[in-house]
Amino acid sequence: MSEALLRVDRAAKHFRVSRSIGDVFAGRHRVVKAVDGVTFALGKGESVGVVGESGCGKTTLGRMLLKLIAPSEGAIEFDGVDIATLSGDALLDFRRRAQLVFQNPFDALNPRFTIKSALAEPLKNTHVPKGEHEARMLEAMQRVRLQDVEAYYGQYPHQLSGGQLQRVVLARALVLEPEFIVADEPVSMLDVSVRAGILNVMREIGEEMGIAAIYISHDLALVRYVCSRTITMYLGMVVEDGPTEEVVRRPQHPYTQALVKAVPTPHLDQSHDELPIRGGMPNPLNPPSGCRFRDRCPYAFARCAEETPPLRQVAPKHFAACHLHDQAA
């Protein structure tokens, strides 16, 4: 792998649940392990998709990567520096280099800011010289294919459509010319008809500007379109990590296999087999012992209850956390 821009080392986020009277008497603090020991590295300019169902911790992971919340355990390094130690000017520099694209464009812009002031705000906050503002804003707007820039500048967010808003949100991240972007479900709130446009812009950003990106999504098809590498998460843990095409064509973890199978395709002859897994996600307050997926896994056997499977290499650059792939056994 090329030089790593971002290194995540056993990062975990535990949220305390408010205590019931019983908990208080028992002197117990219950925690939800939203993210529980995630390790991966992201190379410069690499785009990675993080997939998993709602509640698997992918959004929490994204927020940790941008220092919006602090990890309870583990470390996150950006360009060789632990982001937990950043403050003052160093933090501002990190803010300039790492940006976020939001899920809901209708809420990501302050309703009382015009588009122009929304775009200028990041530049002002990070002390970009005033002379550069115009040019940078113009360039970002062109990047996201918003022509007729002057007309947009005077408008308020409620006057734009969802697709236009998401482009503005994207432009707002790009004015800072970042090296790393986290996109949290960037198109899930948009009409299908405008998704393709946004996705094309995002693919271009990765390819032409060389921005490393993490796309958080529940949609494998989207990830396949934009990302070269895919990470599957289940209940706060990484269960599979590999090149996207590999993961989609030859998924190695039973959970990824189910996800791939669940993607609807417009072929009428698609087999309508029942999904191999059933039930919903277990209560994250009380996850199963050993492999967290075992109670929904069609292949579960005794060892799965006793031992949490580590990520094992199953093919070049392709890892899966499943006892089925333990060569030694």
């Binding site: 790492a98 976020l100 302050n110 009382r112 906050n125 022509q147 006057q159 734009l160 008809s193 998704r195």
Partner: protein, 304 residues
């Protein structure tokens, strides 16, 4: 491909005049007839307060005499004294005019203070949370628990019963209401994505609080301000009626107290005590109408 769909902003040609009108509608509830009536009542009272010197025919506290050098006591309304005179010969109409100035001054000053304190406390408390929030909210609980009239009586005893002390008392007693509501609004606004977006772009805490959150709770502050004006005027009237009011200003409450103490009621001097009563009712009612109009702007779901 699909990129071209998004290239021209909808309504880009919106005229500046329309925008100006929309702005006005955001600030003033002009669509509700009751609210418009309330605004009109306020406008009239404000004009009266401003031009009190020109409108009044006499000095409100001057003891007047008739042409025959007799005390002009308890005269009925007439061309010389539009609303008659009090039992010691003061011009009621002039008192009413100056009373408007006193009442509005106290009302607006107290409302401004209540809104300023309440908004600041609400913003800080809601955004910082933790022990700051705890301390401020317990203070609010204490202030809410203070019984109103005894507190004012004690305050009047310790400080001189002046207009500013009345404003001070009203502020102490009313800030928790707006503070709590602003706080709860801040709690919801700070969770919105654009606040996080500001964090990601490197905004400081003060910037987030005053540039991003405050403008989004300010309409609520205005709402509480318009409620507070009416409350403050009513409060001042009751304080004055009990005789603890400002001794340096003529207010409607003072007029009522004067009338009550002089047994105007039993003597049938309606021209003395009805006008200030009507004025208090009108101002409070107008405040309520405006508030109602604001509510519809702030919470559009209330519209029928």
């Amino acid at each position: 491909m699909a990129a071209q769909v998004d290239t021209s902003p909808a309504g880009a040609a919106a005229k500046p005049r329309a925008a100006w009108h929309r702005r006005l509608k955001q600030v003033l509830p002009t669509s509700d007839p009751f609210a418009v009536a309330g605004i009109l009542i306020y406008v009239v009272f404000i004009l009266v307060a401003i031009f009190a010197d020109q409108l009044a025919t006499h000095d409100p506290m001057e003891i007047l005499f008739t042409d025959t050098y007799k005390l002009a006591r308890s005269l009925p309304p007439g061309p010389d004294h539009l609303l008659g005179t009090t039992n010691v010969g003061r011009d009621i109409y002039s008192q009413l005019i100056y009373g408007t100035r006193g009442a509005l001054l106290i009302g607006f000053a107290a409302a401004a203070a209540v809104v300023a304190v309440g908004t600041l406390v609400g913003l800080v408390s809601g955004y910082l949370g933790g022990w700051v929030d705890n301390v401020l909210m317990r203070l609010a609980d204490i202030a809410l628990g203070i019984p109103f009239l005894p507190f004012v009586v004690v305050l009047a005893a310790f400080l001189r019963p002046s207009m500013w002390n009345v404003v001070f008392a009203i502020t102490i007693l009313l800030w928790p209401n707006s503070g709590r509501v602003i706080r709860s609004q801040v709690l919801s606004v700070r969770e919105r994505a654009f606040v996080e977006a500001a964090v990601v772009t490197g905004a400081s805490k003060a910037q987030i609080l005053f540039v991003h959150i405050a403008p989004n709770v300010l309409p609520l502050s205005f709402l509480y301000g318009s409620i507070a004006v009416g409350w403050a005027i009513l409060t001042e009237a009751s304080i004055s009626f009990l005789g603890f009011g400002p001794s340096d200003t003529v207010t409607w409450g003072y007029m009522l107290q004067d009338a009550y103490a002089s047994q105007a009621l039993s003597r049938g001097h309606y021209n003395w005590f009805v006008p200030p009563g009507v004025c208090i009712i009108l101002v409070v009612l107008a405040g309520f109408f405006i508030t109602r109009g604001y509510e519809e702007i702030l919470f559009p779901k209330l519209r029928r």
